[in-house]
């Protein structure tokens, strides 16, 4: 049986990817940077307390990586489902 290539399946695959990315987004900023900041501050990363580092540095780096990851996975999905431009 061939794989489902309908627009509905494409949308579902997209949503799955978005959910994964947003879970990471939430984890690094809200969980590490806000909710768990105090326990994480007990761990050190050089001169940084770890929770503080996530809030002021780490989360931003992860955001950048997330967007490029999403963009490249979507480019692949576009081709797999034959909905890419040109």
């Amino acid at each position: 049986m061939s794989q489902d290539r309908s627009p509905q399946a494409y949308w579902k695959a997209n949503l799955g990817l978005v959910w994964i990315c947003l879970a990471v987004w939430f984890l690094v900023s809200y969980v590490f940077g806000v909710f768990l900041v105090e326990p994480l501050n007990a761990i050190r990363l050089g001169g940084y307390k770890l929770g503080f580092w996530f809030a002021q540095q780490g989360s931003i780096y992860v955001f950048v990586v997330l967007i490029f990851f999403y963009a490249s996975r979507m480019n692949r999905l576009d081709r797999e489902f034959d909905v890419h431009e040109d």
């Binding site: 940084y48 989360s59 955001f63 967007i67």
Partner: protein
């Protein structure tokens, strides 16, 4: 060359550059005026978006807030970058596929309703105008310092320049100018940070210097914590604000980032849907360059400031700086009225300390009669920073040019969003569809002028520091526009009635909550309750309330839609169409 002359020279040169580009790339048609054609490369678009995005709030105000709030100011860092993740995944590619000029146009079409379009215009104007007020504060501070004017006159000069500048070119002019402005502002921000980081920690990379050690072997952040706690301030790296407030403010800023029309418009201008995704990434790279340096600027500026005032041992009579021998920058900032000193104990020295209970008795035993730095406007820190650190004049001048670039580029982008909402959505789209292109351009310029005057008026009595005013704007965008756009793409069931009710509910609740604590239309004396945690609803500050407003918007839109008929068939097709990339035409088809 003295500082004044150097500043005129550097600022003058950068202006020459911007105006030159603006004239070279003048908007010829309405299409050019609103979106910059489709030939903008993703990296260049990312830089222009960065300049558009990073305003006086990011450049001038944010590091100042970080310097004085420490960890608690992380909300701005995470909030103003994390929103790009939402933008890349939830909005940008789909709005690009849809391919029109403005956000209200999308909302009007998706919800098949002129009412929805008008409500979106109102939301857009309220959010953007609040944002411009924040820029005006930043522009006023910068000009007042470097022209050595009082704040008010600095503000008027700034208004004049913004007017001349934004009205001249449209989006096309602005896009190329903004690329130049990005280069100026990122250079201006990084250079002093590198110098100061080197001086304090020996590490030229500020992001590493912040986590590095000082000459005496202690970590910089530990040192800062000690210095501050010893003087009765909160420890720099500790969380002092309530978790709910930190959480909601960050959320508000993130959602607002994704809902601000002048940023969204950027992604209408890229050639393809896949460029819209990658452009968001490049934009964030350009922004992250400044945002990861800002925490270092804040911490180092605070440490330098403390060392300037507290020259020796805490409590020793000679441990505090003599007022008569205060440095030049101190005097200059006093002249603007943004820095003030009062010799409470009459010893001719400056005592600058915090109000912690533990330190109170100690301070009294030293003969200190209260904190004598009676006013330290947070917005002056970034501009004063290179002077406090004793860097050469050209670096100080460069920072002024960078601050002006940041404020100008954002003000121009916002004014354009307001102008296009008025002329394109209200006048051409609804009230006078027959209007000629020429009259439409005229109308948008008049709208810009009106917005500048209004923002200038509020800039005279700003309801907070630049970054805080801007935070209010984000709350308004978060509670009104973002949910309507997102549901328009991700739900086929949300209909006209739901969207209109949702946007109105979100906007009104958030606006009333802000005015309740900040005064109606920010007029001092008209606030209904004191603006402090004891009076806030569940301890949520007005700046953070946008996230609650967004939630209200989602819930109201859902409930109302469920009680009314679903959108017509053609709208279902429209939604299916914007969800796939193939078939995206050039932006701006009517």
């Amino acid at each position: 060359m003295d500082l004044q002359a150097m500043t005129y020279l550097v600022v003058g040169l950068t202006f020459l550059l911007y105006f030159g580009i603006a004239i070279w790339a003048r908007a010829g048609s309405t299409g050019d005026f609103y979106v910059a054609g489709k030939g903008v490369h993703p990296i260049l678009n990312g830089m222009a978006t960065g300049a558009d995005w990073m305003s006086a709030a990011s450049f001038i105000s944010m590091a100042g807030l970080i310097a004085f709030k420490g960890y608690d100011a992380s909300v701005y860092l995470m909030g103003w970058t994390g929103g790009y993740v939402l933008l890349a995944m939830l909005l940008a590619p789909y709005l690009r596929k849809y391919g029109k000029f403005t956000v209200p146009e999308f909302i009007g079409d998706r919800y098949y309703s002129k009412t929805a379009r008008i409500v979106a215009v109102i939301c857009l104007i309220v959010a953007s105008l609040t944002y411009v007020i924040g820029q005006m504060k930043g522009i006023g501070v910068t000009f007042s310092r470097f022209l050595e004017f009082p704040y008010e006159r600095g503000l008027f000069v700034g208004m004049g320049i913004v007017f001349f500048y934004a009205v001249l070119g449209g989006m096309k002019g602005i896009t190329y100018t903004q690329i130049a402005q990005y280069c100026v502002l990122i250079f201006a921000y990084t250079v002093p940070a590198v110098f100061i980081s080197l001086k304090l920690t020996g590490n030229p990379i500020p992001q590493l210097g912040l986590g590095g050690t000082m000459a005496d072997g202690t970590y910089l952040l530990d040192k800062l914590d000690t210095v501050l706690v010893d003087l009765g301030f909160n420890a720099y790296t500790n969380k002092n604000d309530s978790t709910i407030n930190v959480f909601l403010l960050t959320m508000s800023l993130m959602i607002g980032t994704a809902g601000l029309p002048h940023v969204i418009t950027r992604f209408f201008t890229v050639p393809k849907v896949k460029d819209a995704r990658i452009s968001t990434g490049w934009a964030l790279v350009c922004i992250a360059l400044l945002y990861t340096v800002a925490p270092a600027v804040g911490a180092m500026a605070r440490l330098n400031l403390m060392h300037t005032v507290q020259t020796g041992e805490v409590g020793a009579p000679s441990g505090n700086l003599e007022y008569a021998s205060r440095p030049d920058w101190f005097q200059k900032w006093e002249g603007t009225g943004l820095l003030a000193y009062e010799d409470k104990n009459g010893d001719g020295r400056i005592q600058y300390y915090g109000g912690s209970k533990a330190f109170e008795a100690q301070a009294a035993s030293f003969g200190w009669k209260g904190n004598e730095m009676t006013k330290v406007d947070r917005d002056i820190m970034v501009l004063a920073n290179p002077e406090i650190a004793g860097l050469p004049n050209w670096v100080v001048a460069l920072v002024a040019a960078g601050g002006i670039a940041a404020a100008l580029s954002t003000a121009a982008g916002l004014l354009l969003a307001i102008a296009s909402a008025v002329s394109h959505d209200l006048i051409k789209g609804i009230f006078m569809p027959q209007i000629s292109e020429k009259s439409e351009l005229m109308a948008s310029r008049v709208a810009m002028a009106g917005a500048i005057l209004l923002a200038g008026y509020f800039g005279l009595h700003p309801p907070g520091f630049a970054a805080q005013v801007v935070a209010l704007a984000f709350g308004l965008a978060a509670s009104s526009l973002f949910p309507a756009i997102m549901m328009g793409i991700f739900s086929k069931r949300i209909n006209r009635q739901g969207a209109v009710a949702g946007m109105l509910a979100g906007l009104v609740v958030t606006l009333v909550y802000i005015f309740w604590f900040k005064g109606w239309l920010f007029i001092p004396g008209t606030e209904m309750a004191p603006n402090d945690a004891a009076h806030w609803f569940l301890g949520i500050s007005p700046e953070a309330f946008g996230a609650v407003g967004a939630l209200i918007n989602f819930v109201v839109a859902y409930l109302v839609s469920m009680m009314t008929p679903p959108p017509p068939e053609r709208i279902q097709h429209l939604i299916e169409d914007i969800r796939v990339p193939r078939g995206a035409g050039a932006a701006g088809g009517h």
